[in-house]
C-alpha cells in the first residue's frame, strides 16, 4: 500500500455545544431578523431565538433537518443556497448566516452576491484551505489533503469549492463587500491568532468566521 495514500482522518466529533455557534451568536444583534442558510437541525436558530430574541428563518437541504426545525417551531424552508436565496427580497434580513456551507455550493460567487443583497450583514464561516498543514501535506505528499477539518477524500467530499482566507477576501473585494471581521479558529472552534494580519491568520486557522457588509 502506498504510504502516501490519503488516510481517513479520525472522526471529527461535533461538540455538544458548537463553539462556532456561540461565536456567531456574539456577532448577531438582539432582536434582529436572521436567515440561517443550511440551518441543519435548527440548533443555531434556537440558540439565537433564546439568547438574542431574534426573528429567525432557515433554509435546509435535508428533509430530516427541516422536520426537526419545524417541530421546534422554527420557520424553515426546504431548499438550498444555490437556488433559493433569489426568492428573498432585498434587505429582508439584518443578518444572513452561511455556516460551513459556501465551499459546498455550486456557485459560491452567486451565493455571496445574494447573501449581500438580502441582508444588511452576512456571516460566513468555512474551512480554510490555506492552513499550514494543508499546504505542507499537499507539498510533501502530492495528494489532495485530508485533515480533521476536511476529513473526506477528494472523490467523496461534497466540498467542491474550497478556498483560503485570502481567496475569500479577494472575492469580497470583487463584490465590493467590506470585510468587517475575520475571526480565525482552530479545529475545535476556538479563536487563534487574534490581532494577527490576514496572511498569518491564513496560515494558522483551520476555519474562519467572516463578517461582511455590502458597500453602501
Amino acid at each position: 500500500m502506498n504510504k502516501h495514500a490519503p488516510k481517513a482522518a479520525k472522526v471529527y466529533e461535533i461538540p455538544k455545544r458548537r463553539v462556532d455557534h456561540l461565536l456567531i451568536a456574539d456577532l448577531v444583534d438582539n432582536g434582529s431578523r436572521v436567515l440561517d442558510i443550511g440551518c441543519s437541525d435548527g440548533a443555531l436558530l434556537q440558540l439565537l431565538r433564546t439568547n438574542k430574541n431574534i426573528d429567525g428563518r432557515g433554509i435546509e437541504i435535508s428533509q430530516k433537518g427541516v422536520n426537526l426545525c419545524v417541530a421546534k417551531g422554527l420557520s424553515v424552508v426546504h431548499g438550498n443556497a444555490d437556488h433559493d436565496l433569489v426568492n428573498y427580497p432585498d434587505n429582508a434580513f439584518d443578518f444572513a448566516i452561511l455556516s460551513q456551507t459556501i465551499q459546498a455550493t455550486y456557485r459560491p460567487k452567486h451565493v455571496l452576491e445574494q447573501l449581500l443583497r438580502i441582508s444588511k450583514k452576512a456571516i460566513v464561516s468555512f474551512p480554510n484551505f490555506g492552513h499550514w498543514y494543508i499546504r505542507t501535506q499537499f507539498f510533501f505528499s502530492g495528494h489532495m489533503p485530508v485533515t480533521t477539518t476536511l476529513p473526506k477524500t477528494w472523490y467523496e467530499t461534497e466540498n467542491i469549492h474550497l478556498c483560503t482566507f485570502k481567496d475569500f477576501v479577494q472575492i469580497c473585494n470583487e463584490l465590493e463587500a467590506s470585510v468587517d471581521k475575520v475571526i480565525a479558529l482552530n479545529n475545535n472552534g476556538y479563536k487563534v491568532g487574534v490581532g494577527l494580519p490576514l496572511f498569518l491568520k491564513n496560515l494558522i486557522a483551520e476555519q474562519g468566521v467572516f463578517l461582511l457588509k455590502p458597500k453602501a
Partner: protein, 399 residues
C-alpha cells in the same frame, strides 16, 4: 316534492352529520354577484372546543372529499378519508384540538349544492345552481365558524382543493387564521389542469343521462360519464412510477391479451373499479360545479400578484408538497413560499419524497405526519394552548 329526492344518496347522508342552516336573512354574497340563501352546511366535529375557543382546527376537503374526515363514512361504510391524520393521538390530535370538517358549498353530502331543492321552484337546482367559487366555499365555511362561536381558527388545513381553501382563508381572513397548512396546493390553477377538468366535464355532459343537468327530475344519473371523469382524474392523482410499480403491464384475470377492448390490463380494471365506486357516492352536477370552482381559483389574479395577497399576514404557514405530484407539483408550492418570504411571513416548507403522487396527502406518509404534528405542536405552544389541560373542567361542549 319530486319523488327522486328520497332516492338520492346525498340527501340521506346529510342525516349522519350536523347541519348549520342559514336563512334568507343571512345570504352569502357569491363572487358571481348573486346573494345566495337559504343554504345549509353539513359538518362533522371531533374533539372538544376549549373554554377560550382557541383550539379549533378547520379541515378543508378536496374535490371529491366530504365532511367525513375521521368517522366511518355513512355511505361507503369505510374509514374517513383522513382517518390516518385525524384522531386521538394522531398528527391532528382530537384529544387536543377541536376539529371541524364541513362539506363544501356545492357539494353533495348534505351541504346545499346542485342536488338540493331550490325553494323558489320547489325542484332540484341542477344546472340552475349558481356558479360557486373557492372563495364562496370559504365564505360559507366562515359563516359556519361564526355560527359555532369561534373567532379565530388555530389552524386551517387541507390538501389539493382543500389547500386552495386554506390559502383563501389565510389571504381573506388574515386575523382569523393563526396557522395554515396548504398541502399539494397552488395559488392559481394551471391551464393543464383546467384542460383535464374540461375533459372530465365533457365526459359527464356527453352522457345522455345527464339530461342537460336535469337528470334528478328524470330519475337518472349520468353514471357512465361521471365514471369516465373519475377515471381520467384519478390518473392525475397517481404518479407514473406508482402505476408502474402497482400494476406494470400485468394482465387482469387472464394469461393473454384479448385482442379486444375488454379491461385486459390491471391498470384498466383498477380505473374502471375506481369509476364505478365513485358514482355510488357522488353527484355529477356537483362534480361539474366544483371542478369549475377550482379552474377559477386565481389568488395572484385577484390581488394583482401573490405577494399582495399575503401582505401583512401574521399567520404561521407550513407549505407541503410531494416530489412525484405532477398535478400540483412542488414548483406551485414554491411560488407560494416565495410570496410568503417576500412579505417576511413565518413560513416553513417541506417537499416530501414519495412515489405516491398527488394523493400522497391521503396516504400513509410518515414524513408528512411528522411535519404536521411537529408544526402544530410548535404553533400550539406559540398560541399558548395548554394542550395537556383539555379536561372535562375547561371544555365547553358544542350544543
Amino acid at each position: 316534492m319530486p319523488q327522486a329526492l328520497s332516492k338520492q344518496f346525498w340527501i340521506d347522508s346529510a342525516m349522519h352529520s350536523q347541519i348549520a342552516s342559514f336563512s334568507e336573512d343571512t345570504p352569502l354574497a357569491l363572487e358571481c354577484g348573486e346573494h345566495f340563501a337559504p343554504f345549509q352546511i353539513a359538518y362533522q366535529t371531533y374533539g372538544e372546543l376549549n373554554q377560550d375557543k382557541s383550539n379549533a382546527i378547520l379541515i378543508c376537503h378536496a374535490l371529491t372529499g366530504d365532511q367525513h374526515a375521521a368517522n366511518i363514512h355513512p355511505l361507503t361504510t369505510k374509514s374517513g378519508w383522513w382517518n390516518l391524520m385525524v384522531g386521538p393521538g394522531k398528527p391532528i390530535d382530537t384529544d387536543r384540538y377541536f376539529v371541524i370538517c364541513s362539506n363544501i358549498l356545492g357539494g353533495c353530502m348534505g351541504s346545499t349544492g346542485p342536488g338540493s331543492i331550490n325553494p323558489k321552484t320547489n325542484t332540484f337546482y341542477g344546472p340552475d345552481f349558481p356558479l360557486i367559487t373557492i372563495p364562496d366555499m370559504v365564505g360559507a365555511q366562515a359563516k359556519l365558524i361564526e355560527h359555532l362561536g369561534i373567532d379565530t381558527l388555530f389552524s386551517v388545513i387541507g390538501g389539493s382543493m382543500g389547500g386552495m381553501q386554506v390559502l383563501e382563508w389565510a389571504t381573506r381572513f388574515k386575523n382569523k387564521v393563526f396557522s395554515a397548512i396548504p398541502i399539494a396546493a397552488c395559488a392559481q390553477e394551471a391551464p393543464q389542469n383546467i384542460g383535464f377538468h374540461e375533459v372530465c366535464r365533457q365526459a359527464i355532459m356527453a352522457d345522455p343521462d345527464w339530461r342537460d343537468g336535469h337528470y334528478l327530475e328524470h330519475n337518472t344519473h349520468p353514471k357512465k360519464g361521471l365514471a369516465v371523469a373519475r377515471m381520467a382524474a384519478h390518473i392525475g392523482y397517481l404518479s407514473k412510477d406508482i402505476l408502474s410499480k402497482k400494476f406494470g403491464r400485468n394482465l387482469q384475470d387472464r394469461d393473454n391479451i384479448s385482442f379486444g377492448f375488454d379491461a385486459d390490463f390491471q391498470v384498466e380494471s383498477y380505473l374502471r373499479h375506481q369509476g364505478n365506486k365513485f358514482v355510488e357516492r357522488f353527484d355529477a352536477n356537483s362534480y361539474l360545479y366544483i371542478s369549475r370552482a377550482i379552474d377559477y381559483f386565481d389568488l395572484p389574479g385577484k390581488y394583482g400578484g401573490l405577494v399582495n395577497a399575503f401582505a401583512g399576514t401574521k399567520t404561521r404557514f407550513c407549505v407541503i408538497s410531494f416530489t412525484s405530484d405532477w398535478l400540483q407539483p412542488t414548483s406551485k408550492s414554491r411560488e407560494i413560499v416565495r410570496a410568503l418570504n417576500a412579505v417576511a411571513a413565518k413560513v416553513s416548507f417541506v417537499e416530501i419524497e414519495t412515489d405516491k403522487g398527488h394523493d400522497a396527502f391521503l396516504l400513509d406518509e410518515p414524513e408528512l405526519f411528522m411535519t404536521i404534528s411537529g408544526f402544530l405542536e410548535a404553533a400550539a405552544k406559540a398560541r399558548g394552548l395548554n394542550l395537556t389541560s383539555v379536561t372535562a373542567e375547561n371544555v365547553r361542549h358544542i350544543p
